[in-house]
Assembly symmetry: C2
Homo-oligomer: 397 residues x 2
């Protein structure tokens, strides 16, 4: 019904709201969501070069690696690009909490024959700090986005002094107001549909956080800066709807998971290819913070949210050996399969011959080459403009 269509190039300028396009100096108001573990420099560069805003997730990178990934992007494009960082406060070590978590996971350790006393791998999710700020000052990407709030004012000031536009995620109106008051140039309104980590930083109940349809217009009414809709958007219809709600752009994650530049593993890709609308949930089991992913065995057995999971990011430590062991046997039972609720919509873009191919893919018979992130960005933009144009023709005729 909404297969990619070719719109004339001049249509690219006919967005109903140009505030984000103008603010970020991009051609297409689509931000590729930063997805740690799912995208690197190649996808970010491809999306930016196609006119959208590519994002490099830096939370799991060392400063040196962030710098080198950024340089890879710069070899491919000079267009605006986004570096994304986490702003959590690392938790104090709580041996008792850690003990409860290990005890909850102990039966799985036995099942896989893993020594429960073995040393755990270092959990590599660092908050934005002086070292990363130096990377930013060195690289001077056009845009920086933050998740889990904002860094200390001193660091934020340095980022702005480096000339970067600053975006950050809000899961509630209160968070949006906070971000706008602290100098964000645009707000990502992250509806509960979104895949991956909730950006929550002001401590509201996760189950009370609104969906994107309710959140976006309330945020638009509450702040002066442009609003970017995120969550539940994976095709041209969702993008058109976001503009109807008052957003100036969208941030899209799941749809890019099947692009050729995606670095997700085969197990994640296979799970996506058969997923349905009602198969994701928010879970804190993989990191300690609520994040949306496809429901798998550990989420079903422990329950997706457990008070025994220690605070972000430490929960990831004791899960890691189970994930490694299970993946070796071809199982994603302990793998975080981050994805949003609109994931199945993204399959329409996943290969060029669309429906017939995706049916075959579902039956596992063959796979067409995946769509490139650049082609996907253009297809999403064209579909959105075509959708807006069709609405317009019908209303105005």
């Amino acid at each position: 019904m909404n297969t990619p269509q070719t719109a004339p190039p001049e249509d690219q300028s006919r967005w109903p709201d140009r505030r984000l396009i103008d603010l970020l100096s991009i051609a297409v108001p689509i931000i590729q969501a930063p997805m740690a573990g799912a995208n690197d420099a190649a996808m970010a560069a491809a999306v930016s070069e196609a006119g959208g805003l590519g994002s490099l997730p830096c939370a799991m990178l060392t400063p040196d690696r962030a710098r080198s990934e950024y340089r890879l992007i710069r070899r491919r494009t000079q267009k605006p690009v986004n570096m994304n960082f986490f702003c959590h406060t690392p938790p104090a070590i709580d041996p008792e909490h850690e003990r409860r978590w290990r005890s909850l996971l102990a039966p799985y350790y036995s099942e896989f024959g893993i020594d429960p006393d073995k040393d755990l791998p270092q959990v590599n999710r660092a908050p934005f700090d002086d070292a990363m700020c130096e990377v930013v000052e060195d690289c001077r990407p056009q845009i920086i986005s933050f998740h889990f709030g904002l860094p200390a004012p001193r660091l934020l000031g340095r980022v702005k002094a480096a000339g970067c536009k600053v975006l950050a995620s809000a899961t509630t109106v209160e968070e949006a107001r906070h971000l706008a008051e602290h100098g964000c140039d645009a707000i990502i309104a992250q509806g509960q549909e979104a895949g991956g980590h909730r950006g929550v930083f002001l401590g509201s109940m996760v189950e009370a956080q609104p969906g994107v349809m309710a959140l976006v217009p309330q945020v638009v009414d509450a702040v002066e800066v442009p609003v970017i809709a995120a969550g539940g958007i994976a095709d041209g219809r969702g993008i058109a709807a976001a503009f109807a709600l008052g957003a100036s752009g969208v941030q899209i994650g799941s749809a890019y998971l099947l692009a050729s530049e995606s670095i997700i593993g085969d197990l994640h890709r296979a799970a996506i290819e058969v997923s349905r609308d009602d198969q994701t949930a928010l879970t804190n089991l993989f990191s300690g913070r609520p994040a949306r992913g496809l429901i798998n065995r550990i989420m079903q057995e422990i329950g997706p949210i457990s008070p025994d999971a220690p605070p972000f990011p430490t929960a990831a430590g004791a899960i890691a050996p189970l994930r490694t062991a299970a993946e070796t046997t071809g199982s994603s039972d302990f793998t975080p399969l981050w994805s949003g609720q609109a994931l199945p919509l993204s399959r329409r873009y996943a290969s060029s011959t669309s429906e017939k191919a995706s049916e075959r893919t579902i039956r596992g018979e063959s796979r067409n080459p995946p769509i490139s992130a650049a082609t996907l960005t253009r297809a999403l933009a064209e579909d959105a403009l075509s959708r807006l144009g069709r609405l317009a023709n019908e209303v105005l005729e």
Copy 2:
């Protein structure tokens, strides 16, 4: 930003999708959500007469009362109207489950000095049955809507033979397919943002059910019949967004809670007037089935979802005396305050002088006369058309 505007009457026909309008013979593709305990014949008649589809919630009425309410509507309008029924299977009595529930509530019974052994009031939520089917055959409303699935094929056949168009709620794509395959004329895609009871009937995990932004396009792709978007929609922007997603109409509840015909109590009204976007949650405490309402004391203290709440509708029994006692003291601590996530948006329509008045209302200083359901219906439609028109002008110019 989106205050009610007057559009010329001929604009009423310029909806981007006329499938629902034509199917139901209505002028405006807005269904007033049936809200047991919040609306009766007066609101349904007003909305229908204004060109939308008014709904009479019958689940808490006796057949005689349903018939007399329907006649009240018919004295006010001959236009299409909807009678709404529940289709749950009444649970077997489980004394042990009931005992656990009473035991959980025992401290509150003590607090209010209520005898824990007193007989509980009858819980009056009956599923659609032969007696109600006779009412339908007698009244022949143009439209019937069902919640919690569909009645037995024999009853559904009689409803269709009576000439009624049949609508029903789906919370997932699987439920939408089921409803379409069983003869529904249109599907209400109920996003998780919606206030009141989730229409779930095929047993998916409640926390896995999608928001309306993700659900609507997936349902549109899955069924041939028109799709009605419900949840998170309370102004013209949300209606325009629903059409962008492929819906042919919307069902709106919360926005009507502040209309003059609303029969909610003062405590519910007062809670609405100060509510925020992040203050609702799904709870099973008030009925045994998950439903969205403003978070109040019992939801905070027990947690909004409890395995100890017995199955729908029996949980309501033991809560009732607490609600009565608390309300006597002016407290809504035990009152179900059903509302959706877009509730705060509805305040823009709540009085004619809009912003200034609503600020005063929030401060509790004075109250303007509430908007009528007819005026609200027209304002929502005009705002939606105006929003669609603005998008169109910008895209096409």
